[in-house]
């Protein structure tokens, strides 16, 4: 069912993403770019959370590592692509270093270690002025120019982001469908059986976390030239929680979940802005209600409704999760 659905959904989403910014104002195009960037970060976290079943609360700090690396290197004259790749590699390595001890013990320890890491990152970024500019941050980050395409205007930058997003999504799609990715899924569905089948679950979890972190770095490498200004506050713990919300609200473990989740988390506050001071209150109530009544997120809700409309595509009860991926 879902293969057939994807055959229609993927081109539809792509066409929507290409057409979305046309005729919109600069602010809207900017918001759309920022949405795509957060989707990349959320896709990475989705790999860690939805596929490998580990909570990471450091995705914002990985965005920070990517953003600071990209900003500092491009300002000394490096091309964006190299600077970004170094940021991504750095995140991958930091992910391995953080995950290695934390995953030695079972339970929620990765969540705790990443939580501490995000707070530490914020403190270092704020206090080490010589490198990061402290609370004033870094201003005047250049936008990349690739061959004939200058991205200093909002619309070209949007398409540049979209291009990177599509590549990142294809790469993730490949990872999830490779034997490797199947191991991720096996791990999530039944860790004990996966282990019995000879999978080194700890190594796979660690890899999932490191790759997820690298996606955070990629998102950071894009947000720095988009905003052209970075400061520690943009990578604080609260933003990690927001990215986590995106994954869970969209539906953890659904490939397109982050796309929807990020839209809700970023756009809903905008849509509720007319309520002034109350918008975060309403927003929090909506999230709680969603979690109480539909813990599989919006994608899960959508699938539930679809299943009611088209019962002939009923999937096997014991494979509800597995067959979707």
């Amino acid at each position: 069912m879902f293969k057939r659905l994807n055959l229609l959904a993927v081109p539809a989403v792509l066409v929507f993403l290409i057409l979305a910014p046309i005729g919109q104002g600069n602010y809207m195009v900017y918001s759309l770019s920022s949405w795509l960037i957060f989707v990349i970060a959320a896709m990475g976290l989705n790999l860690t959370l939805g596929y490998a079943g580990q909570i990471s609360l450091a995705q914002a700090s990985f965005m920070g590592i990517g953003a600071y690396t990209t900003a500092l290197l491009t300002m000394t004259g490096w091309p964006w692509i190299l600077a970004m790749l170094i940021g991504v590699a750095l995140c991958f390595v930091v992910g391995l270093l953080l995950g290695f001890p934390a995953l030695k013990v079972k339970g929620h320890f990765l969540a705790f270690v990443t939580l501490a890491f995000n707070t530490l990152f914020f403190l270092v970024a704020r206090n080490e002025d010589w490198l990061t500019g402290g609370t004033y941050g870094i201003t005047g980050i250049k936008r990349p120019s690739l061959l004939f395409l200058a991205t200093s205007k909002p619309l070209p930058f949007y398409y540049f982001t979209l291009f990177v997003f599509v590549i990142a999504a294809l790469l993730l799609w490949g990872i999830v469908r490779s034997p490797w990715g199947r191991a991720f899924k096996a791990l999530r569905e039944n860790p004990i059986r996966a282990e019995s089948l000879g999978l080194d679950t700890r190594r796979i979890t660690l890899l999932a976390f490191a790759i997820g972190s690298a996606y955070g770095g990629l998102a950071g490498g894009l947000i720095a030239p988009l905003v052209q200004y970075i400061e520690p506050g943009s990578f604080a713990l609260g933003h990690s929680l927001r990215i986590l919300l995106m994954v869970v609200v969209g539906g953890a473990g659904f490939f397109f979940g982050p796309l929807l989740g990020a839209a809700v988390v970023i756009l809903l506050p905008e849509a509720l802005r007319f309520t002034e001071g109350y918008y975060l209150i309403i927003y929090a109530v909506v999230v709680i209600a969603l979690m109480v009544y539909c813990p599989t997120g919006l994608m899960g809700l959508g699938h539930r409704i679809l299943d009611k409309i088209r019962p002939r595509y009923q999937v096997r009860g014991d494979m509800k999760q597995g067959s979707q991926l």
Partner: protein, 292 residues
């Protein structure tokens, strides 16, 4: 040396208040198997109930404190359990964790929107005077904070170990299935745990707000510290949470005075990482064994 003892006492005093929040955290963790990300806001909110009692309803301080306690137990204990935790008991842990994160936003924004965005002075419960011992100046408030918190912890431990209800609560936390077979009303025991957590949070709030003021955003750091105190001490032990709270309070004050104020907030975090690396069950905790 005199300064050292002053710093030590005020560290123990705030540490014992952190411990109250950390113990509530541990109780909820044991019973509901969930990490309550709103615990910091649970400590922030009761102070605002009291302020509303004093400034809006015009109650005397003791009346407002009673009202604040009752409101906290009802909202943070009963409603939290009934409206959020109970309907989600069937799903896996993650949605509940996310729901508590959203709840923390809800409580924070509500306090900001319905009371005030600025830090509010909170009436002190104890006399503000000081006394001298061997050249060191100690404040009565610090001493009484420490004594009250320790008394609460002792009372709670006695309740859990010596009374039938307390032992039933422990049984429910350890193995709900067997507890139910033995005729324990596990739903009621779980509810008690949430009520106790709310009470502890309210007491912590009343003790800490005179020192740090009542502010809608103060829950962020308080929650993190309670959380770290619980892990450092041992996530399955009440005395562990107490030790963790005291340790963090003291270390925090010592670092701020003698080493660096800039990286003061990093101390509990570094402690957390060291503990997870070398003693993941916590200082006083016992290993839970492998869960299948």
């Amino acid at each position: 040396m005199a300064q050292f003892f002053q710093v030590l006492l005020s560290g123990l005093s705030t540490g014992s208040i952190y411990a109250l929040a950390a113990i509530g955290f541990v109780l909820v963790w044991q019973t509901a198997q969930t990490v309550n990300f709103a615990q910091g806001e649970f400590v922030m909110l009761p102070a605002f109930f009291v302020l509303a009692g004093v400034h809006v309803l015009g109650l005397p301080l003791w009346g407002a404190l009673l009202l604040g306690l009752a409101a906290s137990v009802f909202v943070l204990g009963f409603l939290f359990k009934r409206m959020i935790v109970e309907p989600m008991s069937k799903s896996t842990g993650l949605p509940l964790i996310i729901a508590t994160m959203a709840l923390s936003i809800l409580l924070k924004e509500s306090a900001k929107q319905f009371y005030a965005a600025e830090a509010q002075p909170f009436p002190s419960l104890f006399p503000q005077s000081t006394f001298n011992v061997a050249g060191a100046v100690f404040s009565i408030q610090d001493v009484l904070n420490l004594l009250v918190s320790l008394a609460v912890v002792v009372a709670l431990t006695l309740f859990l170990d010596r009374t039938k209800t307390g032992r039933s609560m422990q049984a429910t936390a350890q193995n709900p299935g067997v507890a139910e077979i033995l005729g324990i009303d596990i739903k009621r025991m779980t509810l008690y745990t949430f009520l106790i957590n709310a009470t502890l949070a309210a007491l912590a709030s009343f003790l800490i707000s005179p020192i740090y003021l009542a502010k809608f955003s103060s829950g962020e750091s308080l929650g993190l510290i309670a959380f770290i105190a619980a892990i450092v001490g041992g996530f399955n032990q009440i005395r562990g949470a107490l030790a963790g709270g005291l340790l963090i309070g003291v270390l925090d004050n010592l670092t701020a005075t003698y080493v660096t104020a800039q990286y003061r907030a990093a101390v509990p975090l570094v402690l957390l990482v060291i503990i997870i690396l070398f003693r993941p069950e916590g200082l006083l905790g016992t290993s839970e064994g492998r869960k299948v």
